[in-house]
């Protein structure tokens, strides 16, 4: 749905994007995770060409945006919704007026506009608020207006620029739940950037980790978690690094269907002490990561058994 290749963008001496490739599949929620200054915001703004990359191409929904002239680009942008960290609502307009803005730009007739605004406000749970002014709303409600506005043109893609970073944790969860619902109900492809792992954990199907203008790691979350030594796994499950000598780190991605740890203890007569670990609910299911010390004559056989059972085993050297 979104293909970007070889994106480069430089501001003076600062290289914001240093050859970035990105591929977002239809219907997925793709998160770009990184600290501020990593280039993720520039990347997002290159997708709808708010920033024009110095080099590289962007294709959205089969249309190569980087090749379009301004009028055609404006038409293409109407099929790409965007929501913003600070909502970017027009204070001169009511809630309904804000949602109607893109419809006006598209030349939708007044009566049709009013009907569509009503639908959109209902979709985001703001029915009856059309007459309010943005400043009368809470942050979460403002972002709902932003989402309704972004969906006005029936976009195939929604870009989210740190949309929950200005919100408190409970509101963040409610906005994320809304995005998840829109993704499921409308088949909306969502590309979001965030510096919060929590956002990636709760809604994303795929993730790209960015630093210094490059993507360091990317892929489906389920795959990355199942990849030994992946950066995502280390960041989701913060265990002390480097692992102490002799310790073993076990990652349980997906449900093995039986209590493998106690099985191992009984079967191989090993002593197992847990040094650290946690279980996280990810979009694909729950994943656990344990740092353990194994002692016993058959420790090596025990590890082999764990591997066979689908547990990812990393031994500290």
């Amino acid at each position: 749905m979104i293909q970007a290749s070889g994106l480069r963008k430089q501001y003076g001496d600062v290289v914001a994007l240093d050859g970035v490739d990105l591929s977002v599949r239809q219907g997925e929620i793709f998160g770009v995770l990184g600290q501020s200054g990593a280039g993720k915001s520039t990347l997002l703004r290159c997708v709808n060409l708010l920033e024009r990359p110095d080099a590289g191409t962007v294709t959205v929904d089969g249309q190569e945006l980087t090749a379009l002239r301004e009028a055609d680009l404006n038409r293409a942008r109407r099929r790409i919704g965007m929501i913003h960290q600070h909502f970017a609502l027009l204070s001169s307009r009511t809630v309904a007026g804000n949602v109607a803005f893109p419809l006006e730009v598209m030349g939708v007739p007044r009566a049709e506009r009013a009907r569509r605004v009503g639908e959109l406000l209902e979709l985001v749970g703001l029915e009856g608020r059309g007459g309010h002014r943005p400043h009368q709303l809470s942050g979460g409600q403002k972002q709902r207006v932003g989402i309704a506005r972004a969906l006005a043109g029936n976009p195939s893609v929604l870009l989210s620029d740190e949309a929950t970073s200005a919100l408190d944790p409970a509101t963040t969860q409610s906005i994320l739940a809304l995005l998840k619902r829109l993704n499921a109900e409308l088949g909306l492809t969502i590309l979001l950037i965030t510096h919060e792992m929590n956002v990636v954990k709760s809604v994303c199907d795929s993730v790209a980790i960015m630093a210094g203008g490059r993507i360091e790691e990317s892929g489906a979350i389920a795959d990355l978690v199942a990849t030994p030594g992946s950066r995502l796994t280390r960041e989701i499950f913060p265990l002390p690094e480097p692992a102490p000598a002799g310790s073993v780190t076990l990652t349980f991605a997906g449900d093995p269907g039986r209590p493998v740890v106690s099985e191992v203890v009984r079967k191989f007569d090993v002593d197992l002490s847990i040094l650290g670990g946690s279980i996280e609910e990810l979009a694909g299911g729950s994943v656990g990561r344990l740092r353990v010390a194994l002692e016993g004559a058959e420790a090596a056989a025990a590890l082999a058994y764990l591997r066979e059972s689908g547990v990812i085993v990393e031994e500290a050297s």
Binding site: L50, R75, A88, L90, S92, P102
Partner: protein, 218 residues
């Protein structure tokens, strides 16, 4: 001087001032608003950057702003004659008043438009809004309270300018104050004129503040 003697002088003078200020306000908005928009839109990082044109416009505006009004009024007499056909009377002074106020108002417009957040402009761009529509549907409506405040300041400045215009043959309250209050030592008329000007300015400023507040939804 009694009230009966003063009223026939005060009323026509007030009307002349109102005419000079009213017409020049109208032309100031018609010329200054687009000029202010151009200063923002053509600037580096604006909607349609054209730094060279922007630099020329900025220079012209600064020239207009650096001339004291009394000098400007005299300096553009040939231009006034060209436009109106005469250089005395209330109508003739609408020209220098407008020329004096346009750069002033254009800068205030520029400042108000710059207050509009780049985030809303970019949000509009992301929605595929054309540049013209961004000016009409985003920049001007969002800046409206500031534009009204700027217009109020401009009108008050025009009242001040119009008093100077009066002394050169434009008529109005300034002319009255100079001819009667200063040259004929009619202190009472001077005081009444001053009070009248104060009242007019206060009323206009309050009106402007009220409108700006009504329009603001921050």
């Amino acid at each position: 001087m009694t009230w009966d003697e003063m009223l026939p002088l005060l009323w026509p003078a007030t009307v002349e001032t109102a005419q000079m200020v009213g017409w020049s306000t109208l032309f100031t908005v018609l010329l200054g608003l687009p000029l202010g928009v151009a200063l923002v839109v053509l600037d580096r990082g604006g909607l349609r950057p054209a730094p060279a044109v922007r630099a020329v416009l900025g220079f012209v505006v600064n020239v207009g702003r650096s001339l004291p009004f009394i000098v400007l009024m005299i300096a553009i007499i040939p231009f006034t004659r060209l436009v109106v056909g005469t250089t005395i009377g209330t109508a003739a002074f609408v020209v220098p008043l407008t020329v004096g106020a346009v750069p002033f108002f254009a800068r205030l417009v520029e400042t108000s438009l710059r207050e509009v957040g780049t985030d809303v402009v970019q949000a509009a761009q992301a929605m595929g809004t054309s540049r013209t529509a961004i000016v009409w549907k985003v920049l001007l409506p969002e800046a409206l309270p500031g534009l009204v405040a700027g217009l109020t300041v401009t009108v008050v400045a025009l009242i001040g300018y119009s008093a100077m215009a009066g002394t050169l043959g434009g008529g109005g309250l300034g002319d009255l104050a100079v001819r009667y209050g200063y040259q004929r030592f009619e202190t009472l008329l001077m005081i009444v004129t001053v009070v009248l000007l104060i009242v007019i300015v206060q009323l206009l400023q309050s009106l402007g503040d009220w409108v700006a507040r009504r329009l603001s939804h921050k």
